[in-house]
Structure formats: C-alpha cells, structure tokens
C-alpha cells in the first residue's frame, strides 16, 4: 500500500536503519541511535506475570507493540522470540532451562541450568562426528522430545544393502514416538515463528527495524555453557586442552555455517552474540588468547566475509580484553559492552567498531529519572559527541525490574542530548 502514512513509515524505517548502519560503518549518523531490548520487563510494563508473557503470544505481541510505539526506538530486539517461548519449550521438553511456572516462580525470569551435558571422555566422539553425537547422545539429553533418538542407526558406513537393512530402527516404537513428538514440537515452534514474523512485519509497517535477525554464540561459550558446564570447562583448560582446542576449531566451522545460513534467511545482517566467558576475571590473558579468542575471531571474520555484522555483547567487565578484541576489520562490527567502562572502550576501539550500551542495571532499577538523564548526558558528551559511534541502550537491555519512568527517561535523554 502506498498511502502517505505507509510511505512515511517506510521512510522512517529506512532512516532508523541507516542510523544503525552508519554507526557500524563509522560514519556519523544524523543522531545517536537508541534501541529497545526488553524481555521480562514487558511483564512489568503490562502488569502481567512473567509466566503469562511466556505463554500468551497475543499478549506478548500487544505489549511489545505498545512499548515500541511509546519509545520509538531506532531498532528493537526480537522481543517475542525472547519472551513468548513457553509453549515452544514445553513441547520440545527443553531441559536446560527453568522458566516461569516450570521450575521457577511465575514472576521470575528463566534461568539456565549449568550442568555437564557432555562428559570429558566424549570429546573424541564429538570431534569425530558432531552430527552423530548430536543425534544419539546430545539431543536426548537436552530435550525430552528427542528421547528415543539413542536408537537411531549409526549412519556413516551404511551402504548398499546394509543401508536398506540399516534403517530398521526407524520403525522401533521408541524412535517412532520420538519422531512424532519432534514433529509436534516443530509445528508448535512453527506457529511461534509465524507470530514472530507477523509481529516484525507489523513493526516494519510502523517504521521500526529489528536490531538483529538471529543470535549466535562463540565457540568457547558454546562448549562451556551447553556441553561441558562451567566446572568441566575450567578444568578442561588443564586436563583436556588439546581436545578442547580441536573441539573449538571444529565448532567454529559449523557454527559459522549455521550462523551465515540463518542470518541470510532472516534478511537482517546483524547477528547478536551474547558473550559469557570473556570477562577479565574469568581467565588469564594467556588463556584468553589461547582458548577464547582465536576461534571466535575466525568466526567473526567469516561472518564479515559473508556480509554480516557481528554484534557481540561482552558481558561483565572486559577492560583487559579491549586491545585483543580490537583485531577485527574496521567498520564491520557492533561491540556491546555491559560493565566495561564505555569511555575506555571508546578510547581503545572507537576507530574500529560501533559501540552499544551501557546504562547499568543498578542505575536502571534503583536510580531516579534524573540519574538516568545525567548518565545518558555523560555518555553522549564523553563518547558520542567525541566521535564515538554509540548506540545507546541499557547494559544488558532493560532489566526486568526497571520502573517505566526510567525507561522513558533513557529515551527522552537520548533525544535531548544527541538527537
């Protein structure tokens, strides 16, 4: 439709998106972009429980829309995907999370269960045949819908009449039951995805782009969080370092392939990558340079080659890593910092990457609107007005407990001082 309103919305959309892309390319945008990232804060905003938010697609979409239209961000995160996933998690029988009404209280956010999902002695199998390890071992461990896949045939080696005979396990009741559950879960997740797509199209129609189409993970965090668990990973640095390095090398390849394929399918080049294991306190400089950084850098370069824009969120304080993570092509990434001092990050990285963040969680939840205003002003004066390509946001999006007047103060101050 080419109504004047639709044309205006399209122009607004393009102007907002250009603001983000200009920042990435290290060109000065017409004003400082400010973005909206919210998950369970939407429940507080709408006066409903976290559990309702997770299970009610329509309500979650309604609140997300209300928030986008109220704050008019330059981009918003895929809020539905992060929030309204209760039904999807339930149908797949997801075991790695506890979520409102499913392990934690109705008004608590979901929490990841740090466990050993792959034993140290399974590294060899993972490295030799990650797909086989996924099918028969990993998937049944992390999601109950896959229980039964343990009995799937061992595919490599099936050939000729051995191939014909080898597919018999598919008829076993356990495997058949698992396949039925997975199909059912996929249908539910398809419905969820459709709600998400409809919402994003609707927001685009109002003139608001998404910050990112998909999320990804660094190879180290992938193995640490989702396979070995914190304790296992930290001791692997000593006990299994060669196998860990081999697993990281291999993971970087398939994670890159998957990230590129999914990002291209989403139509949005920005890839959000929450980073858990890089903080200064988590490992030594030498360990970071040996185990954490090389495989992630390789992945980022691959993403950049494919035309994507990596947007790692460097959680906690990563001040000691700044010089190391500078080693990427200029004008291709957004580095989002949580507790790293943004002025320091600008000094070290301002000529290489756009920056995102970082009003602290404590300020957002316990401060007054005047405090928020003062902090935005400080960031604008010390970063944006000095040439830093700052995309304003809270340190890790809007904390769940943030009073709505503080969110209003964040957006108002961004316009007042840099817009």
């Amino acid at each position: 439709m080419n109504t004047p309103a639709a044309e205006r919305a399209r122009a607004d959309h393009d102007a907002r998106w250009r603001r983000i892309l200009d920042s990435v390319a290290l060109r000065t945008p017409d004003r400082m972009p400010v973005v909206l990232y919210a998950t369970f804060w939407l429940a507080r905003y709408g006066g409903i429980s976290c559990r309702q938010l997770m299970y009610d697609y329509e309500k979650c979409a309604e609140l997300s829309e209300r928030a986008v239209l109220e704050f008019e961000p330059d981009a918003y995160t895929p809020m539905l995907f992060a929030s309204a996933c209760g039904q999807a998690l339930e149908t797949i029988g997801f075991k790695q999370l506890q979520w409102p009404g499913h392990g934690v209280g109705d008004n608590q956010p979901y929490q990841y269960l740090d466990r050993e999902y792959m034993k140290a002695e399974e590294y060899d199998e993972f490295i030799f045949d990650p797909t086989g390890f996924y099918l028969r071992t990993y998937l049944p461990r992390v999601a109950s819908a896959f229980e039964g896949f343990e009995d799937l045939p061992y595919f490599p080696g099936l050939h000729y009449m051995r191939l014909v005979a080898g597919i018999r396990p598919f008829a076993k009741p356990k495997v058949r039951g698992a396949l039925e559950k997975v199909i059912k879960a996929a249908e539910e997740i398809g419905r969820f995805g459709k709600h998400n797509a409809i919402f994003n199209e609707r927001m685009a129609g109002f003139g608001y782009p998404l910050t990112n189409g998909i999320t990804s993970v660094s190879p180290y965090d992938f193995i640490a969080d989702y396979f070995r668990g914190a304790r296992g990973m930290m001791t692997d640095l000593f006990r299994h370092k060669d196998k860990l390095l081999a697993a990281l090398e291999k993971s970087a390849i398939f994670l890159l392939r998957q990230t590129v394929a999914q990002a291209q399918a989403s139509g949005n080049p920005i890839v959000f990558i929450p980073i858990h294991w890089a903080p200064d306190n988590f490992m030594s400089d030498q360990q970071f340079r040996t185990f954490w950084w090389p495989s992630f850098r390789k992945m980022m370069l691959g993403m950049i080659d494919a035309g994507l824009i990596p947007m790692p969120l460097w959680e906690a304080d990563c001040t000691k890593r700044l010089e190391i993570i500078r080693d990427v092509p200029a004008g291709k990434c957004i580095y989002w910092f949580e507790r790293t001092d943004m002025v320091k990050a600008f000094e070290v990285l301002g000529d290489v990457v756009a920056l995102r963040g970082n009003l602290s969680a404590s300020l957002m939840t316990t401060g007054k609107p005047a405090d928020i205003d003062a902090e935005v002003r400080r960031l604008v004066e010390q970063v944006f007005h000095k040439g830093g390509k700052l995309i304003l946001d809270a340190a890790f999006g809007i904390p769940d407990e943030t009073p709505v007047e503080n969110v209003r103060a964040m957006f108002a101050a961004a316009r007042k001082y840099a817009g």
Partner: protein, 220 residues
C-alpha cells in the same frame, strides 16, 4: 608450617603449579604406599592452597586455577581422610565465621563458590548454605551459626530486591546489631548496596576476603 622434606616441597609445588597429573600420583603414593601421616599431607595441601590464593590475589591465577585447585584438594582429601586414625587434635583456630548464600530467586553459584573457597583458605570458618535461599533460612542460620559476617550473593537483577528483603528481615528479627553484611555478584555496585542496606559490596572474591579481614581486625 614445620620444615619440609624435598618430597613434601615437590607436592606443594606441583599442586600450586596446577600439575595435577604429577601431584595426585605423588600424594597417593605418599598416603597409600609410604604411609605418610594423612594429617601432614592435608597440611601440605593447605600450604599449596595458600600459594594458589596468593597467586589469585596477585592476578596471576583466575577462576580456572581455583576450580582445579579445589578439585585436586577434594581428590586428595577423599584418600587421606579415611586414613586418619588418631583422634583429631584441636582444629586450628579460625579467624571468624562467615555465612554465605545466594538469595532467593537466583540459582547462580560460581561467584559464591569462589568466595567460599577464598575465605576458607584465608582462615575463615565458612558456612555455605547454597542457592535460592529463602529469607527465613538466612534468619535461622544467622541465629544458629552466629556469623560475624553474612555474604549475600546474586547474579540476576531480581536479586536486588531479594537482598533488600533479606536484610530488612534480619534487621526486623533483631539480628543486625553485631553482624556485618556484604553483597556480591556480577551486577552489584554501590547503588545496589545503598538500595539493599548492606554494609559493603564487592564483585570479586578478593574484595570479600579483604572486607572480612577488615571487619574482624585481621591484618591483610
């Protein structure tokens, strides 16, 4: 610690240097084949852990070394403790009692465990009451354990309110007078300290140790 034989020095050095593949067989040989005094081997372990703690405080070691050190200690302890025949002598005097736990609603424990480990090797008697700890459990434990310091841990932003609620309840129960309260976690800063009413905050285990030492008048 009394003077060490070359073998004993070797064990301490290998443990402190994270050379698990060499340290554990040596400890096992000393305990099971050479029938070394298990109390003595545990003392050597503690000596090694002191070195590990110092290297952590100096910024030479990080979380992975503390976790591995803790696991090595557990493994040697599992062999040594059943071998202790004589009645244990008087336990070494502790600097003071610290009660620690992650507040309700929050399941994170890596930071808390590291603080517990560091306080322990620095000579404090630590009682770690786990994660997602209800307010009433903190009150019951403060009443029975009588700590000098209470450490409240939390990683999520919801922990701000849980900490505030816990501290208010401890005050209402009349237990705050002789108790210092420190809070810690990835999101904690001075604004959260003010909000919760805690005496101090920290984001590293080293801060927790120096706070406890200061409060208990121990030379750092």
């Amino acid at each position: 610690m009394s003077s060490m034989t070359d073998q004993e020095k070797q064990l301490v050095e290998w443990l402190a240097d994270m050379r698990e593949e060499e340290a554990l067989p040596l400890a096992n040989r000393m305990l099971l084949e050479e029938h070394a005094d298990p109390m003595r081997v545990l003392e050597l372990c503690r000596n090694a852990m002191d070195i590990v703690g110092k290297r952590f405080q100096a910024g030479e070691y990080f979380l992975p070394e503390l976790v591995l050190a803790g696991e090595m200690l557990e493994k040697i302890g599992a062999i040594a403790k059943p071998l202790i025949k004589q009645a244990p002598g008087a336990a070494p005097a502790k600097l003071g009692r610290v009660l620690i736990g992650t507040v309700h609603g929050d399941l994170h424990d890596i930071g808390k465990n590291i603080v517990t480990f560091m306080l322990d090797i620095n000579g404090f008697e630590v009682r770690d009451i786990g994660i997602d700890v209800p307010v009433q459990t903190f009150i019951d434990e403060v009443t029975s354990f009588k700590p000098a310091v209470l450490g409240l841990s939390g990683f999520l932003t919801l922990a701000f309110d849980s900490m505030k609620e816990t501290i208010e309840a401890i005050e209402a129960a009349g237990l705050r007078k002789d108790l210092k309260i420190m809070i810690g976690g990835g999101q904690i800063d001075d604004a959260v300290r003010t909000y919760t009413g805690a005496d101090a905050f920290g984001t590293t285990a080293i801060t927790a140790v120096s706070l406890c030492k200061n409060w208990l008048g121990v030379a750092a």
